[in-house]
Symmetry: C2
Subunit: 335 residues, 2 copies
Amino acid sequence: MRIIVDAMGSDACPAPDVEGAVLAAREYGDIEITLVGEQSALETELRKHNTLGLQIDILHSDSAVTMEDKPSEVLRTKPDSSMATGLNLVKEGRGDAFITAGNTGAVLAFATLQTLKRMEGVLRPTFPAVIPIPGGNFILADGGGNADCRPEWLVQFGVMCTAYARRVLKKPNPTVALLSNGEEEGKGNELIRKTAVLMEASPLHYIGNIEPKDALRGGADIVIADGLLGNVFLKTLESMATMMFDLLREQLKADTRSKIGGALARPAFRRVYMQVDPFEYGGAPLLGVNGVVIVGHGRSNAKAIKNAINQGRLAAENDILGAIREGMAAVNPTP
Amino acid sequence: MRIIVDAMGSDACPAPDVEGAVLAAREYGDIEITLVGEQSALETELRKHNTLGLQIDILHSDSAVTMEDKPSEVLRTKPDSSMATGLNLVKEGRGDAFITAGNTGAVLAFATLQTLKRMEGVLRPTFPAVIPIPGGNFILADGGGNADCRPEWLVQFGVMCTAYARRVLKKPNPTVALLSNGEEEGKGNELIRKTAVLMEASPLHYIGNIEPKDALRGGADIVIADGLLGNVFLKTLESMATMMFDLLREQLKADTRSKIGGALARPAFRRVYMQVDPFEYGGAPLLGVNGVVIVGHGRSNAKAIKNAINQGRLAAENDILGAIREGMAAVNPTP
């Protein structure tokens, strides 16, 4: 199996991207890795590591997509980028999965419009987030790409996430819920009520509406929402956690007693942080295109890149695309 | 000025409700308070406090609304409740504001359908939340009553919250933003984009879209969203904060070192909690009905009830209803 890694993706590229690839090649002996990016920079970076016996090669690309690039323009302006080059390798069957910590909008544009394209029967690809919670995780889709959604799209998001949860996260019978302002049937907006009817009729393991507090307690393996609601939910979780850590840090510096207490309790804080560590899962899959794509956070470190590579490896090895195709056939009306 | 307090509202009623009224009567010498509820229970409770010189009287009511009562049924089943009785006093001009920590859905039903009714020109009343953040607060509307909204309703929510922010929270020129998945113009869903056009044309101090992280940093005085998005935002803030405090508490008990650190840092934790204390503002106003109504959380303690009474006092004293009427005239097309 060959994994294609965009080495020009992360904010601090290429260092974490290359190191993550080295760590992955060491840990998962069965994979070959192609790093795509500026040849000499990647060679310099690779020389910093012991790569003896690892199957890592480099494919040169002339340019790189930055976080500032507009997704609507990259197709035209950066066709020779590491991102486009890497996705093309997967499209041509010369790679089994593509990993990047680069500009999410640009990946979506290149993958859905230019290279891999939408899978047959998929109305909208989705870019879910895997959210760490104490003792586990849940998948949230849509993470933001599709602000306005139709009920059928949400059901398809459920199908694709179910395939991902089964094949990659090893949850044999994942539960699916609709994010809402109340658990009771009839709560939510019109979109949620219409989607619930379709969910009930689908083969998904649908368990009804879920409120934020129950989602955080692991009440469902898969939480479905339109991209606006899902994105605001996701960003609220992140920014509330950040705010709380910031407030704590500030107050633990306020006086000597707090400083001593804070120093003693540091391992406890560390354990709290580990339970909501955004880098634990490395990246999020782009589901609904003809290829395996995992997109990591721009702030990814080497560990996050390694974990993203592992997600891509598991997705390819366990034929996530076949699982999605099967799931789609069960919910889409035969033409 | 006379404030009507539903003494059968809070989860632990009537103790915190009565004590809150006593505290308020003591602190704000200019108010008279009528406690509505079960006469003998309230007399017993009042006798526990020194009420010398305070203007507090009791109005008996035969029943009380509970948290389990369905809002759709209370109009029929509990017309003699402390809630209905209290609202009627305000309707008849025998009280200037009504305060309750009772069943929110029931207050909405009694106030909008049976007693005070919608103000002329108001399309939908709204029940915003005042959210404490470090160094201040912001108002979020809609808090949940109106899951599906139209653009004109959202603009009206902005108008009513602007009046409340000016007259009660003493913010002379409050900024209004739309909660969204990105700051840039064009982000958000169709509702947000349509509302933005109306906001731009309104006399509101509209500043565009706002993301959760900037809302938490105090980026806008008033954050507007449909009731589904607003409610999920609100509940996510609450449940993430709760989860973080729970995780901390758990980890600070894990070993001796953490226990000592935690004990020393307790005042620092307390200061963090104070900055996001949900009881600081006591309650949330029901805006858009013909009367001042403040609804507190069911878990309100005496301090929260006292603060809710103060909010009602300020709203009545500063003619919030007049301010809303004026604001409405400026955004509603003349018939």
